[in-house]
Amino acid sequence: MSGVMKRMGMIFRAKANKALDRAEDPRETLDYSYQKQLELLQKVRRGVADVATSRKRLELQLNQLQGQSSKLEDQGRKALALGREDLAREALSRRAALQQQVTDLETQHQTLQGEEEKLTLAAQRLQAKVDAFRTKKETIKATYTAAQAQTRIGEAFSGISEEMGDVGLAIQRAEDKTAQLQARAGAIDELLASGALDDSSGLAKDDIQAELDRLSGGTDVELELQRMKAELAGGSAQPQAIEGGAGQGQTQSQPQDTPRFDKQ
């Protein structure tokens, strides 16, 4: 679409940036008000022109009537000169009727003239008001545009500062997390070392296994100790134990510590 509608719309839109909200831009409204005032001014001017036209028309009618009145007066004079008083009377009575119309029209003319002057004054005042509004409108528009720009700048700044804040916060978070992880690692090491925490690697043993190991380890130690004691007690200990069954009859008749061979 490139017709009047579109182009007028574009012109209005170009003059009214609707960035701030969905409502009609106040500048567009101001421009529209100004446009309406111009229209009103034009109507007043048309009114002035209409009144002036009527006044001129009345003046023409007045001239015409006054012409007729003069003519009737002349006719009356001629009728009298010719001795026709009756005709002169008729002419003068018609002239009197015309004079009444003239008087009425003159009153109307004066009224119209007054109206015209008032309207002309009103048009001048309105023109001054429209001019003043135009100046004010431009000031308001400029202020609005500046305020809008200021808002955008403010938004941009706060946006930037928010971003900066985010970056700072992210760094802070990262630092906190690192410190937390380090602390946790340290704590885990300590807990693992103290046995309060299971080692998921499987290298560490639980307490039950540790006790079983300790007990079985202790049993082995005891067995080993007995074996070593037996060895120290002499080589007989083990053979005695081994041969005990074969020399059972002898032990009953002789004490065990008696030597079997007497060299005396």
């Binding site: 679409m1 007028m8 209005f12 009609e24 421009d31 229209e39």
Partner: protein, 92 residues
Amino acid sequence: MIVRIMGEGQVKLDDGHLTELNKLDDELLREVESGDEQGFRRTLGSLLEAVRRLGTPLPDDSLEPSQLILPSPDASLEEVRDMLSDDGLIPG
């Protein structure tokens, strides 16, 4: 689509009517550019009548941005031409 008739108010139009209105609108623009006063008056009347007929008037207290704007019914060809010129009747 919201259309403003200057001096009258806004009407809401279904987009489907745009093709019909576009023909009149383009014709109006040609008449403005060629200075055809009679054609302009006739086409503007037809266009405004079509917009009024096809559209739904918006209440006076609604503030909707207008996508399209039409001259007032009594706007003269010169006025519309001025409005369409760079500076237009509306300064700024």
